[in-house]
Amino acid sequence: MRPMSPLAPFRKWTVRAGIVLALVVTLPLVGLRGVAHADLGDEPSSKTSSATDPSQVSDDGDKPKDPSLLDKKPVDAAAQKQQAPVGPPFYEKWQFWVLAGVVAIAAVGLVLGGIALSNNLGGGDVRPCNPQFIGCFGEGR
C-alpha cells in the first residue's frame, strides 16, 4: 500500500483558493457595474417648461426697468459654477472599467502565477511511475 502524497491536497487547496480569490476580486466589480446602470430616480423633466409657449407667459410687472439689475453679478456666477455638476460618476467612465478589467486580470494572473511558482519551487510534478516497476515511493508519491 503506497502512502498518500502530501502534496496533492495542498495543490487542490491552492487551486481552490485561487478560484475563490479571483471570484472575490471579480464579483464586486461586476456588482458595481450593475449599480452604475441602475435607475436611481427620475431625471427632472424638461418637457413642462419646453412645452410652455413663451409668448403665453404674461409680462412680469415686478421686472426691474434698469437693465444693469438684470445682469448676473460675478459672485452669483462663481456660486453657480461651484454648484454645477463636475461630470458623470467615475464608474460610468469607460476608463474606469478598462482599469478595473486590467486589475482583475492582473489579480487572476498573479494568483495563477503564484500557484505555478509555488509548484516549481516545490520541485514541480513528480514523474509518473514506470508501470514495469513494482512500486514508486518517496517524495511526492
Binding site: M1, R2, P3, N120, L121, G122, G123, G124, V126, R127, C129, N130, Q132, F133, I134, G135, C136, F137, G138, E139, G140, R141
Partner: protein, 144 residues
C-alpha cells in the same frame, strides 16, 4: 514606488528561503540471494518493508509480497524519489513470513547509495552486484 523596492527585496528573500527543489530518482532492483533462499521459502513471504535513512527518511511496503508473483529470486525494481542531492541514502529491506514481528522475520538486506545531483540513478540491469539483496536469512519461529 517607495514600496516597490522593499517588495522586491522581500520577494527575493522569500524565493531564497523557499529554495529550488529538484526531484532525484533512484531505481532500486530487489533480489534474494539465490544461495540462501529458494523459490519454495520465498513463496512464504507475506510482508516486505523497506526503510530509507540517511539523506532522506521514508518507509514503505513493496506490493506483491516481494515474491513478484513467481517466487523467483529476482523481485523487481522500485523507484524512490527524493529532493536529496548529497549524503548517503541507506536502504534496508525486511521480509516477513507472517505479521511484522521479529519472530516472523525471514530475511534482511541493505544497500547504501550516494545521493547525487543526477536526475536518475539506476542499478546496472546486467549486474546483481548493486542490487538491494535480501542476503541475511532469519529463522521464523512460532510465527502465525
Amino acid at each position: 514606488m517607495r514600496l516597490l523596492l522593499p517588495a522586491l527585496v522581500l520577494g527575493a528573500v522569500a524565493l531564497g528561503a523557499a529554495g529550488c527543489s529538484e526531484y532525484h530518482y533512484y531505481d532500486i532492483r530487489v533480489a534474494y540471494d539465490g544461495s540462501m533462499f529458494n523459490p519454495n521459502n520465498i513463496s512464504q513471504v507475506q510482508r516486505c518493508h523497506v526503510f530509507v535513512t540517511g539523506a532522506d527518511t521514508a518507509d514503505f511496503y513493496l506490493e506483491g509480497n516481494c515474491t513478484n508473483g513467481a517466487a523467483t529470486t529476482n523481485v523487481g525494481v522500485f523507484e524512490f524519489a527524493t529532493f536529496a542531492d548529497s549524503g548517503t541514502l541507506n536502504f534496508m529491506i525486511r521480509t516477513y513470513v507472517g505479521v511484522e514481528f521479529d519472530n516472523c522475520l525471514f530475511g534482511t538486506g541493505t544497500k547504501a547509495i550516494p545521493a547525487t545531483a543526477a536526475t536518475t540513478t539506476a542499478d546496472d540491469p546486467n549486474s546483481t552486484a548493486d542490487d538491494l539483496i535480501v542476503n541475511m536469512p532469519s529463522t521464523p519461529t512460532n510465527c502465525i
